[in-house]
Subunit: 339 residues, 6 copies
């Protein structure tokens, strides 16, 4: 099975203060390209999968730069539409010690957010693909985009593609237009074979409370509810993050299957985090890689967690780690300089 | 007379490619703060005038940075309102040779553009001021802002302040909302004591054709028409720009008075332009400085032109040249290193 | 009570090697503006207080840059005198691991250090102020400056202002001119309502030995002696710093009152220090904020310590943290990215 | 006819001193990707043509970066082989005034130069292509590469593709292995439909002396000889460069046809050159664009020259100018900021 | 005894990605000069010893830059030959968290590696020297260089110089030409008074297995074997490195003498490593400093370890720490800012 | 004759705004090392002469950096004394268009300026030298330094060294301490074999007016007077600078001999000046090179002017041009990229 993986979502420009400076403390911004689904796409392309981005960018140098960056990392961009309008932006201040990193979004009214169902011919866009990946950020952008995302998920399922969905619940975006987050997310999750979500997402979507359980058990309970609610669902995966300081995290992960299987990967220490943005997307891509390559579940989970951890050592939203690097971390290779 | 000069207009963040690179050719942006009226305000503050900025910025780190930069250069910012929303941006690629510089605007729906007449208490905002400066970019942002600009100009005149207006005709902005540019600009110019405009602006506003004249004579004809149309108008000034290449300009200037007076300052060569943005605003500020200090008209014009020329040697939108530097250029001081 | 806080002290330019490089290892220097009292002033301005800087700078681009930076962060600079001469400088190499950061001072003969009592009209300079802040660095610069500082403190007390004094004992500066540090510091402390000092400062000033006590008890004993010696004194505060490595500190704090009250805030871990310079000044400003806002003492101490800790995450001498950020740290908010 | 354009040649990393610095005057290098044929390919991709790169790169991060940069600019890289070995490098010092720019080559023994005929399956590599572009740098790298280039040109002709060849005569490279430059270049030119060469190249290849003619006439004479010698040749084009100073060039161009047609485009002034490297490749790509789009010859020449000129305003080896920018220059559009 | 220390080895240019970026993630490289023996030489020059570099560099700006950098740090370069050819390079990606740093070597066919015994007149080159330092990287470059290194070591011994040798076993380099590493290294070690090596090196050279011992005991066993095998050997020293993460190492050290003496210096924690490259060379230089200054062995070992640790806080391959800084670390001086 | 050239003078750190920015417009400074005599020394070392710097630097990282930079460029620094104190600094804003470059000196009380005759043992310092170079900046620093310079010049003459002196008249420095510039400079010039000075210098020193002549004739008249006044004088040389704009200069030169010989080198155009600082010193070094190598006078003058012109294309105070580059300019070699 060698079909393409399609990722539908918004491309954003990240404009970040250099190093650990405050935003505009000095008059420079470092630029990276990102977006939850694009991040997954770039990871999968790094891992050798054919990946096709779907969506809309501005037909100006910013949009071209975003597409160029995706192509640079091996993602096909020919199906992304370039139309008049603006690119979504976000401004990032990377924190330190106990000063958290801070995102100032400036993404309203982007060309992506203004897209409507009529802008997308899903059967054509998904032609030749084997998989579709989406996330909960997309439907949060407005009713038209939400409708479009649902169209995409349904078209994928109908065409026999696998579907993965990353919860990525962002209350602020939903509140901005009063969208019915639980209702819409539920419809999307109903189409999913693979769900990246934890008990917090499930509590929102299923209006259930998993607080009686504790720690990993909460996710297990949430997974049980999810498998019951969503008949197509085969896998649910999530990370468990501990934040000792802004620069020092711990990251564990879980992978749960319809048959009640539940694997836990022990927490890795991440002291000296370089860039935490995109860590969840790197994990998701790692899990998808395992599933698409039909690795054993335990290996899939280990691969996903190692991928997610390595992302924290890499600047920018993309996980540029190679499969060899991820596998080296899985086997706890030596950490001294490689010559 | 020691009152404050009030400048009402939008503050923008300029995000520019480093040096002569294409936008996002490398992943960095240099940030400057600008805006036609703020540029005039910073120039006047550098020249020793008390200056007060009026308008609205986003209540986020970007808006704070914009205000901080104005304060740094001596402009009072206490009357600028910080409200939720986004800052207007523009992306700049500085050209070279025969590749023109290019601006990509991303300023729609900024907090400034969303301001309404009700947001401004003009008598209070103008309290203690002796002068109000506005430009034609502001009313071009939409009907509410146009109304607000008119309110400001009328309130200033009513309170006995001098009023200056810089034409700054931007067709694209007017077209975006179908605004009646001639009608609105005419109402604003009616309030002006000093107008920065040339025959092209006047052709638009007065629906007159000055094409029968040539060169400077066109501006003289336009001025005659302006003085007839606008009873409060005392001065009209403009620059005459020749663009040999993107990096090599010639800049002359004219100053015309109600009594038919017309002074012309001969063209200065500007080979090796560093940054052309804000050249017109620097000129306007130089002229206002001369008028506010009651310099002889010829000195005022020479000062304005020298200020405008010096701006081309300075990075960013602001003319950071001191009065001493401008005066040194007026007397053709030596150009070797000053130790 | 809404009067201004006056800060009298020297503005310095910090010229620092980039990142963790040795000084001039590569041919670039990063510039920040600092000075013990200015640091306190900028912090208080960030926290919403009106702040006025007092002192002298060079009437050249360096002095103007220093004032511009203060204004940028909201401090009023109109009362700072710009006179011919040089700015005080210091060159900084930021250390790492077990290589300590290193300061090379080049501040002798600065315009500030050459100021004399006759240069300052204290009643006018303090007009409209409610508080004066000084530190022990200032009198250490020479007999004339010491006399000036005493004049300032006495004028403030006489005019009914509150006075705060930060010990900042620098033996090298005193030795350079053979000044009577204990005598002069004592006279200054006599004017203080609030003292930032610990047992080491008090040992010098009161020629007393607090070595019989241990740990926090030493500071308590020193405070008791201070309250006895200085009748106006209401508060004494200090930090307790542990330095595990150059990049990893622990920071605790104490606040002691005339009635024998002594609050201790437990040590916070600071792994991955970004910039330690100005940490004490940030703490002092936090305490002053609490006192000026009449917060409960415990909240004041917690606020001061949180402010001091946050400073360690911020480049430069100034604590640019907002009140919201400081309060978030006080309640141990989550440390993951804020979107 | 919508087939792909294939470019066979070496990808090089350019490691350049920043700005106008001497090499390693400060310890930084700016990196660009280049190579005569890749430069042509990127230009054509910018102009909307499907382009496929052919050749070999190192299977390490340097080779991946080179391919990534090509993809970023729209060139297909799937047919480039990544094999163990080293990338060709060149170190660039950009000159100024009368100090010429200087290239230090470090390209011996690169994976490309070590390629042999057996490494390339030309029918497969050229499958679906309509055109092949090569240059004289490639056969200069050694006998195996020369043989390979000949294989490529012959395979292209046999498969009915158009062939273009850029003389790019580099004596030093030929001398390094004692290659028969005239013989080999002649065989390559025999396959060409389009030749980028002037009288100097032809003098070498045809062992003829065109010195009796002067100025453009020399190139005309050389073209006449070329059309006689090479039966497939349809077009010969070249630039005429005047170098007033390192930063100020003049650039004209000629386009000659088999029927004796000879068009000359007048010299454009280029004062303030940003980056001269790749100017000839940009010209060649512009000419090819005109031919592939079947533009009138005069328009083709004007397009080629405008493209070549614009390249001088752009950092790096690639001409990133768009068709719209090139056409704007052809019609002498205004040079002031485009908003 | 005040003779010069001669260091024979290759000078390399390190081209590194900025900060923690991937190689060419952004288009810049930071350049440092290095090489195992040059690193030792620079350290010793920093510590006050006269040092002479021996070897060959390219007679181009890269070679000149390498020599210039050595001179800058006090090493004499007049005896290094500048000849046509290329400089050895290595590309460095500095890792983070669990992503190891990675070196891509591009050093084949460098002018140094192409040097032959006939290029070196050892009696002249060693004239006036008291010591010769070499390392195992040099003979690994090829049979001619290996022969040259042996010539050097024998000439040194014959002339009564002390000889130190750093194992630096690099299997990949030996494999590239099938060199007899054990045989050649053994011959070199036979000439050594001081050996920097551990049980792994000795296992290779003596074809002995020290696996029966554990931890430091393995090195002790290896030393015993070494002293038996090499009659001139007086000291063997090595570090013991623990790598908790890429940024957090522990470093201990051992110094063993012919009389069976074995000193161990306890492990120091290095959290927040800035640059690990050259740590072993810094240690070697520290040990040599102690021996050349005839310090007590324990002080020598402590000095060497402190030097090695400090290197990890310094960017680049050279240990630029001064003797005062190293001694401050030995006595565990305070780590707060030094003013 | 292969003796060393001794240069006695102050080493300064230049702290410059990046590119064409205003000083501290952005918070970075680029650092270069300079000083009139050191500039000459570095040029001569680049040209293959043994050069020894004499003077005093601060015994801190700044002084060490200054010495390191001299060594990097081949100047011997072992005779420079490192003593407690401060380094002389200057802050540079590089101008553009009609905005002149601006130097803010901060060099008072430097360790060099505080040196006294007793600090220098001239016979020892000049031992083995064949030439001494000084300039008029040095005696302008104060009476002690002036005395020291005179000691040096006399000791050199007495020891049979050649002496060159560059006028470098800086009125501000002399006025600062009321020094008798004409008297002291005259005494220094009396020792000179070679004088770099023009009619303005001679007017000051000889209290003569050369205004009756015009253009080059003025310098000829001044030379005649100089040869009459100074019996040891053999050569007088000067440049003739025209400043069309800050970035575009013209540079000619004259060389006059005791026998009345007067050579004029025609003006070279320098459009696009990179860095004008040190242009005169580069010229002086070029002339000295010609004299020391006993070139014909016309070649010496041409070499000196070409050296001076090339300096304008090089960042920093030093002329890093090689002899080959200077000679290439003398023969008007081609200006296109050298590969």
């Amino acid at each position: 099975m060698t079909g393409t993986i399609a990722c539908y979502g918004e491309l954003l420009l990240r404009l970040g203060a250099p190093g650990r400076q405050r935003l505009l403390q000095s008059p420079q911004l470092d630029v990276h390209i990102g977006g939850a689904e694009a991040n997954v796409g770039v990871s999968l392309a790094q891992l050798g999968h054919p990946v096709r981005m779907l969506g809309r960018v501005a037909d100006n140098p910013l949009g071209q730069a975003a597409l160029g960056e995706l192509r640079r990392h091996g993602v096909q961009t020919a199906s992304v539409q370039a139309v008049p309008g603006r690119m979504g932006l976000y401004f990032l201040t990377t924190g330190a010690l106990q000063r958290p990193s801070e995102v100032v979004y400036d993404r309203a009214d982007s060309v992506f957010a203004r897209g409507t169902p009529a802008d997308y011919d899903w059967p054509a866009l998904l032609d030749g693909a084997r998989w579709l990946h989406l996330s909960g950020v997309t439907p949060a952008l407005g009713p038209q985009v939400a409708e479009t995302a649902l169209d995409a998920a349904r078209a994928a399922r109908q065409a026999g593609l696998g579907v993965s969905f990353d919860g990525n619940f962002r209350p602020k975006l939903w509140e901005a237009w009063g969208g019915d987050a639980p209702g819409i997310l539920r419809q999307l999750m109903e189409q999913a074979d693979v769900l990246f979500a934890d008990h917090r997402d499930m509590a929102v979507v299923l209006s259930q409370d998993f607080a009686q359980a504790e720690g990993p058990a909460r996710n297990r309970a949430a997974a049980a509810a999810a498998f019951e609610a969503f008949p197509h669902l085969r896998y649910m995966a999530c990370t468990l993050r501990t934040t000792y300081s802004v620069d020092h995290h711990g990251l564990g992960a879980m992978l749960m299957t319809r048959d009640g299987g539940c694997l836990e990967a022990p927490t890795r220490e991440l002291p000296g985090v370089v860039d935490r943005i995109g860590g969840g997307d790197a994990f998701a891509a790692g899990i998808l890689h395992g599933l698409l390559r039909a690795l054993p579940d335990a290996e899939t989970l280990a691969f996903g967690l190692a991928a997610g951890c390595l992302k924290h050592s890499i600047e920018g939203d993309f996980n540029l780690a190679s499969e060899a690097e991820i596998r080296a971390l899985m086997v706890e290779g030596r950490l001294d300089v490689r010559r």
